[in-house]
Symmetry: C2
Subunit: 307 residues, 2 copies
Amino acid sequence: MGSPSFTDRLNAVAADTEALLARLLDGTPLPGETARPERLVAAMRHAALGGGKRLRPFLLVESATLFGAPRDGALLAGCALELLHCYSLVHDDLPAMDNDDLRRGRPTVHKAFDDATAILAGDALLTLAFDILARDEVHADAKVRIALVRELARASGLGGMAGGQMLDLSAEGRFAEKRALSEKEIVTLQAMKTGALLRFACRAGALLGQADAGHLAAMERYGAAIGEAFQIADDLLDVEGDAATLGKAAHKDADAGKATLVAALGVAGARAKLEALIDAADGALAPFGAKADTLRDAARFVAERRN
Amino acid sequence: MGSPSFTDRLNAVAADTEALLARLLDGTPLPGETARPERLVAAMRHAALGGGKRLRPFLLVESATLFGAPRDGALLAGCALELLHCYSLVHDDLPAMDNDDLRRGRPTVHKAFDDATAILAGDALLTLAFDILARDEVHADAKVRIALVRELARASGLGGMAGGQMLDLSAEGRFAEKRALSEKEIVTLQAMKTGALLRFACRAGALLGQADAGHLAAMERYGAAIGEAFQIADDLLDVEGDAATLGKAAHKDADAGKATLVAALGVAGARAKLEALIDAADGALAPFGAKADTLRDAARFVAERRN
């Protein structure tokens, strides 16, 4: 999957992200902090360290590289994005939400600690994401940092990721009689729940590189295609995968009757849609020529991933 | 309690805050948002509208006024702060945390909706706070806005409010054998759990007015005194108040054996400490002369409040 150099690049960002997250989540209070309670630090580290492909930081760092932005600032912004992603997993896993016991093959935060600690850890991870984006080290220009803050907030809040999770719970029939969603409604739900953060990752690199409006729009199109492909690949994995490979329960979504494009289009239809999305991602990157080859590989990687 | 003009000013900020929050929480998606799910909007409105003295926005607006910052930007920043405060109430009220059914005399969000919706509403309120602080209308200078983002994140996260709630749950003996906290430990806990946001309110006004370091430090001292006084007044109310006045269960903290300074110092000792804190607040405001009279009244108001 991907050329050797693609895998090397992916692994390098994952390793750097892991190391930086470990430093960001140490126990020493920063200026303006009174103390960092040990139990909360431990729960946040459990949530954020030790795993994952770090796909969002990778897309952010590689997009930043395309626009000539320094890697260190992009890595820090990538960590902010990853912390925000991790908060959403911690809260989604709670008994009141999706009630998951396993995540990346390990106990979820509320299983390893307790529900109250998991709620607080999620809150603190979300908050830390904005703390980090506001730091000088992300970018020398405060206007760039404030744009990142605004875009991440908008991608992840009421009209983005959190809103998407709300729609997903509604679609499960949690609050009223369950009804089948149309293909269009499923696309909207997924664009919010998982797509918004992936789009942000791609836009953030362009913002860090102070790209012009045309290039920003190209990265938005690329990110949207990646986001949709990610979700379809995820749904295919849920149908076809097994728990050992996934590190979480398989068939969970299908068993819950969750609204997915795989259910709407069938497996063959979903695979065809994935190919079309890889082409769309390719097309969005056309203005950048060979410089964007890593991002092209990334689109195929996202669409074809097996775990 | 306070001169008539003080009450007028307090009520004016409360009314303006309420109106602005209602607009910020309407159902229309902003640029970058896909859709605003109806149920989530309703839960967020339930959490944020229709109540409270809006003390935090008031302190922020009056501090901004002291430093000559425009009222509109301060009100918007005040709304961000209030949304963040409201998120903390929604999550703290959850069954997994303090398990409260009533807030300001109305059902808490998880009672009016359900636990999952309350978790998401809290998450989205927290996120919206940072979205708002990042907007141009808060202040023309992006450096000012990014400073507000960083300080609010630090006041409310791992080393601030969320950390304080973690310490409070630990002090209740939730995760290990309960042990009595020292007076110093109680002060630290409360400085994080409730003090940090009140300190931020006072510092934020100075940041909006681009105050110099000496004046910022004065507002930090003022805010710290207000924060400590607020908590002691709250604990006295818990001991002496009744549910009808409070709009929530009285004696709840005392019944839970929560660590409070009233328990540590006794009622008379706590009242003496309150007077000392009013003096400290006064002292911090000395450089500003009569221009700071509203903030002086605010300190007494916080210390002497009866609900």
